[in-house]
């Protein structure tokens, strides 16, 4: 080893690294991220040749927002701590919401059960066994009233994970605000309303893609006039990643979905600078710490470029990619479940360094069931410890300028751009979905990853390394079957009490609007006020729009 310090990487490799490698190899021949992106031993300023910090990173709160969308980030205001929650009946979930708010949560996030997500009522034959099981069961406005009992809608922001039937559940929220006397223009919150990722990954759909997008542009148009602070789509990479994509695929397909919605809004005659600022994003945060941070930073820069350059948006609010993050459910293990607390901590910290606006941390027991109250509290405390003890929130974009993080950010952008170019060549995201392109890419990636886990090429602690025999079971949340019986009873009595002829007229008005192309939101709002059910309203649209059928590839 030379006594003189090396002047560049080449010298260092020769003088310092070479002799060490000559004595013995590194732990592995090749290193890579959880998404199999190759990682070099060392990054230096040479990796950033040709990049220009002011152009590529900018400063916080300024184009292209790589360093964050606010000049003060978490010094100004912490991210919103928003635990996704819903199970059993509306009253059960309402109790959990009060519990979370009492423990310092700052926003609500509604998880609906599968029948609701699919636009079916609790008494539908296909709903059997699913009512209230994976989320809260909502059939009519009455359930929504119970869900938010004691929660003034002008004092919370609410996120609702609802897609194909989003217009209906959103209308119920608006009708509830009317009943509480809260003006619609003051309401704050988000509906996920991201149908494209349903076809790609989450697979909870009703109608085919094109009429589904028309419903979305109706919602965007309605909100621009009546509910201007509402986020009309949360363009979601979360489910794409959970379905097994790589980080770069998540980034690419999510932004491609976003480009699809912007294009659709423009084609529907909306002003991009009016509706674009109301679109937000939703990313996954997986175990590979730096890859996740790079993905989130790249996402902001790419979106700013697309909005200004491709769509000519002039309003800086249109350029800003705001996003929610959820830690990766698919990374949790049923084996040694307490280890999941540690995984979630790493993932949550990555989201904070990535500059997220809101965060859900998964609970340790979610590889087994919906979380118990105790498990949710640890998950929320994890965020609070990061926010208030770790120091991570004291400085804006602390990892900027790291040779590694900036190189990885560039790399994520390049990988994602290559995929978006392919989608553009296929004719845009809807055509790409119809051709099965993202679906196939994700299925291949997920199969590759599973093979790497099976051969322990990728280590999962407690699963393919450091296993223990005979683990103790942990307590999990149980949803009694009576929830379903009770919900069906509530639905039946509401149907008996409501004004039947008014509901029938409302439903035919919805069918009429669907056929004529007038905005669907006003007739849907009227129908929910009259206690029409989710299933009836979706059924009225299904009669006009038809149903989606997937061609499955594996």
């Amino acid at each position: 080893m030379s006594n003189e310090p090396s002047r560049n990487r080449k010298d260092w490799e020769l003088n310092t690294l070479g002799p060490v490698l000559a004595r013995g190899p590194e732990r592995r021949k090749e290193f890579s991220t959880v998404s199999s992106l190759p990682i070099e031993r060392l990054y230096t300023e040479e990796d950033l040749d040709g990049s220009d910090p002011l152009r590529d990173l900018g400063l916080p709160g300024e184009y292209p927002f790589t360093r964050g969308i606010h000049p003060t980030m978490y010094r100004g205001r912490l991210w919103t701590m928003r635990q996704f929650s819903g199970f059993g009946s509306a009253a059960d979930t309402n109790r959990r919401y009060h519990y979370l708010l009492e423990h310092g949560q700052t926003g609500l996030s509604v998880a609906f059960d599968l029948p609701t997500l699919m636009g079916r009522d609790s008494d539908d034959a296909l709903s059997e066994g699913e009512v209230g099981r994976e989320g809260v069961a909502i059939d009519t406005l009455e359930d929504m009233e119970n869900l938010f009992r004691g929660i003034p809608l002008d004092q919370v922001s609410t996120s609702m994970t609802i897609n194909s039937p989003a217009a209906v559940l959103f209308a119920m929220y608006l009708a509830l605000a009317e009943k509480q006397g809260v003006p619609l223009e003051t309401l704050e919150g988000t509906i996920q309303n991201d149908i494209l990722k349903e076809y790609i990954a989450q697979k909870e759909w009703i109608y085919p893609p094109r009429p589904s997008i028309r419903i979305i542009t109706d919602i965007m148009g309605f909100c621009a006039e009546r509910v201007p602070k509402w986020n009309t789509i949360s363009i979601s990479g979360y489910h794409i990643r959970e379905a097994g994509s790589t980080a770069a695929q998540e980034l690419a397909f999510t932004l491609a979905d976003g480009l699809g919605y912007i294009q659709a809004g423009i084609e529907a005659g909306l002003d991009v600078d009016v509706f674009a600022p109301r679109l937000s994003f939703f990313f996954n945060s997986h175990n590979d710490f730096f890859e996740e941070i790079a993905k989130m930073r790249a996402a902001r820069r790419m979106w700013a470029h697309f909005m200004r350059e491709r769509f000519g948006a002039k309003n800086p609010a249109s350029w800003k990619l705001r996003f929610h993050t959820q830690t990766a459910g698919c990374s949790l293990t049923a084996q040694q479940p307490y280890n999941n607390v540690v995984r979630v901590t790493i993932q949550a910290l990555a989201a904070v360094f990535g500059g997220t606006q809101s965060l859900h941390t998964n609970s340790l027991d979610e590889s087994l069931a919906l979380p118990t109250e105790d498990a949710v509290r640890i998950a929320l405390r994890t965020q609070q410890i990061i926010a208030e003890e770790s120091g991570a929130a004291n400085v804006v974009d602390p990892l900027a300028g790291s040779y590694f993080v900036e190189t990885l950010t560039n790399r994520m952008e390049a990988e994602a751009l290559a995929l978006i170019e392919k989608i553009d060549l296929l004719g845009g995201i809807v055509a790409a979905i119809e051709a099965g392109f993202p679906q196939k890419e994700i299925a291949d990636a997920s199969y590759r990853y599973q093979q790497q886990v099976d051969t322990a090429e990728k280590v999962v602690v407690g699963v393919n390394r450091y296993q223990v025999a005979g683990e103790d079971a942990i307590d999990v949340l149980k949803i009694p079957l009576e929830v379903e019986v009770e919900q069906k009873r509530r639905l039946a009595s509401r149907k008996a009490e409501r004004n039947g002829p008014a509901v029938a007229a409302d439903l035919s008005a919805i069918g009429e609007a669907a056929r004529k192309g007038s905005n669907l939101m006003p007739p849907i709002l009227q129908a929910v006020r009259d206690y029409a059910t989710v299933g009836e309203i979706c059924g009225a649209m299904k009669a006009v729009f038809g149903e989606y059928r997937e061609v499955s590839v594996f």
Binding site: L126, E128, E130, E198, K203, A443, S552
Partner: protein, 137 residues
């Protein structure tokens, strides 16, 4: 004489759209030499049982991540039995708590895999437990 090829139906039952696991299992079983039929999403127990009988399969592997396993597994088993196909081996996987696994096994589900199970575990289990049904084909 060549051994008959084992046919397996893998499926999603109920409204659950999580199909990452089922597709991985379908592909892994196919790569291991089995004849695999995938039901696609959003199938009722009735539809799954009908396909199993029409396709004359030796085993049915069901994936349920929605928590509806206690309702849907027994329903599939019941319909298979009613239609004289009670010897079709039913196994499955998903987000399923341990105590439910015991109940499901008592009801006749032969094996239940949970998150973290490897494809080779599933293939090994199938190899040991699934044989061509007597009289089939």
């Amino acid at each position: 004489m060549q051994e008959p090829r084992i046919r397996i139906l893998v499926g999603k039952v109920g409204l659950d759209g999580h199909d990452r696991g089922v597709k991985i299992i379908a592909r892994a079983l196919r790569d291991a030499g089995y004849e695999v039929i995938y039901t696609g999403l959003h199938q009722t127990p009735e539809m799954v049982a009908t396909t199993a009988i029409q396709e004359d399969v030796d085993a049915v592997g069901l994936s349920i991540l929605s928590g509806a396993h206690n309702t849907l597994f027994p329903r599939v088993l019941g319909i298979l039995k009613e239609r004289g196909a009670g010897d079709v081996i039913v196994f499955g996987g998903g987000i399923i708590p341990r105590e439910d696994i015991l109940t499901l096994k008592e009801a006749g589900v032969r094996e239940v895999f949970t998150p973290g199970a490897t494809t080779s575990e599933v293939i090994d289990w199938v190899r040991r437990n699934v044989t061509p049904r007597a009289g089939a084909r």
